[in-house]
Amino acid sequence: MKEQKNIFNRQPDRSKYPAKKKNGKLDIDLSSGKFVKLWHGPNHPGVTGNMAIELTLSGDEIVDAKTHVGYLHRGFEKLMERRLWIQCFPTCIRMCVAEPDYNEYLLAKSAEELSGIEVPEMAEWLRTLVLEMARLQSLLRTVPGQAGTLSLGIGVQWGVYLRDLVLDLFEELTGGRVYHMYIIPGGVRGLLPDGFKKRMEEVLGKIDEFVKNIENLMFNNIVFKKRTKGVGYIKPSWVNKYGIVGPNARAAGFKRDVRKDYPYLVYDKLDFDITHETDSDIFARSMIRKKELVLTLDLIRQIMAKMPKKGDIKAQTPNVLHWKIPAGETYVRSESSRGEYGFYTVSDGSTKPRRINLRGPSYTHAVVLLEKLLINANIADVHSIMVSLQTCPPEIER
């Protein structure tokens, strides 16, 4: 494991850093002119979503960082306490813009688990397909996005174009472009349209070719390597301390993947192994995401091959207009492209949920971990570290 390798491989002189005050606060007396307070604010073109980081700089080194969230707070958990279970279905999707399908699946799964409904087999396959396609379109945006932070623009252009093709496939299957509203408590809302498999194969072919291009463009690009190797290093010991999950943990060598550890839907019928890297810096994390991309392509192909032809899509649930779910609580988790994504649902036997709480991976990555990583990083790397952790602010404040 490489220690943080500084380009000038000399320790920055600590003199200009503020000493730590007794209560852990750094005594930065702003008027001393040594420090500049800068807001990597909500209006920054680089921020994915709205999250502000209050940086205190001395020269180009960041001395202290505080993440401010709350720009996208809509109080989902409060709204969902006022809505019937079926009405929570379209509301809970809007919690995370990058991957709406995981919210749908988790709400459906917790409702089914609490009320003991069995989902038909065809619906399970369709759900896995939709979840994998959601992971695909999210990775298509973040893998080249990492290069985009270093202004390698064309990678992003290709990636977002291909993501758009995947969105078209979503549109045919589910009827919606980004918010699919497809996985409903009890099953799914439609079978595969005809000719879907052929079009899917076409798009996957284009994405294979894209992965080859990205490899040439990003992964053996001297400047990209210089900018990402050794930056934003996560010590393996932090993984448990900070609750790091998903690709960021796998980049630090931990073999943790909810799809493998707690198999849900039909993941136990698909054979794949967990991707992992060892030196956990930005380069390793983007490498992990590229491997995940390749893995998702392969998974989708497997699903398409093994999927049964016909089958009914929805179990018979009680009348949704007054569906009383028996009292109880459950925690249901799934693996989104950013890590473990879980719903903690409590129902009190009435027609409305008592409490639904989303455990998003960015909750720890963006707030506590990012503040730790940014200390003595360079101002130019703030944005690339944030994107490498794949933070999605609406998940933090819901």
């Binding site: 909500p42 209006n43 709205n50 109080g75 980004v178």
Partner: protein, 224 residues
């Protein structure tokens, strides 16, 4: 943004509080940071130029090169990257993303507006220059959308900043967004894009609405 907001004292950071400072010549100066920071003069109404032809030509140029402020306020901002990339290339229509409010003249409000974002939106809107236009996406700006009963999102956008064009859709598609741009161009060329003047005329009404919602008027405390 005067200081007399009713529950204002509760949320004032210490460095913004009114304080007395001893001047070098010994006299005491009362410093009220919030007033000094923000010039409180009202935006003047700038009437378009007299003769029609020049105004028409300028309007044409304003319509052809729309510089959008890259501030994704809501969930619709996920539909803006596809707009800028190969699939629905908006550069062809003269649309370009500008990072700073100073240089941009179209403000895309891409969905719901939390109160905290609303404060930044107002501040960015006031920083924008000259003939500025607002494109409101999605149903959240028209009548509150799905968060009509949320305590933290505003219901109607036209109460806070003058809006030029609304695009329907719960996250309108990029094509609908482009149609929105076309409509905006039409409106500018027809000379109806006077949002800035409208903001100046009804300044007090807008300010009153904004004050009713936002209680914490502290601005990030730059230290110089």
């Amino acid at each position: 943004m005067t200081n007399e907001n009713k529950n204002h004292e509760k949320f004032l950071h210490e460095e913004n509080k009114i304080r007395e400072v001893k001047a070098p010549d010994g006299s005491i100066i009362k410093v009220d940071p919030l007033n000094d920071y923000f010039l409180d003069d009202r935006p003047e109404i700038k009437k378009p130029k007299t003769n029609k032809i020049v105004e028409k030509f300028l309007n044409w140029s304003r319509a052809e090169s729309l510089w959008v402020l890259g501030f994704g306020t809501g969930c619709g901002s996920i539909e803006i990257p596809p707009l800028m990339t190969p699939r629905f290339d908006a550069f062809r229509f003269g649309v370009a993303m500008r990072p700073t409010p100073r240089q941009s003249n179209v403000f895309i409000i891409s969905g719901y507006l939390a109160v905290k974002t609303l404060k930044r939106v107002i501040r960015s809107y006031e920083q924008m220059q000259g003939p500025k236009y607002v494109l409101a996406l999605g149903s959240c700006t028209i009548n509150g959308g799905m968060y009509w009963d949320s305590y933290n999102t505003i219901n109607r956008l036209d109460h806070f900043i003058p809006v030029d064009v609304y695009v329907a859709g719960c996250m309108p598609r990029p094509e609908a967004l482009l149609a929105g741009f076309m409509k905006l161009k039409e409106r500018i060329k027809a000379g109806r894009g006077e949002g800035a003047n409208e903001y100046a005329e009804k300044f007090d009404w807008y300010k009153a609405n904004q004050k009713k919602i936002i209680n914490d008027w502290n601005m990030p405390d730059y230290n110089w």
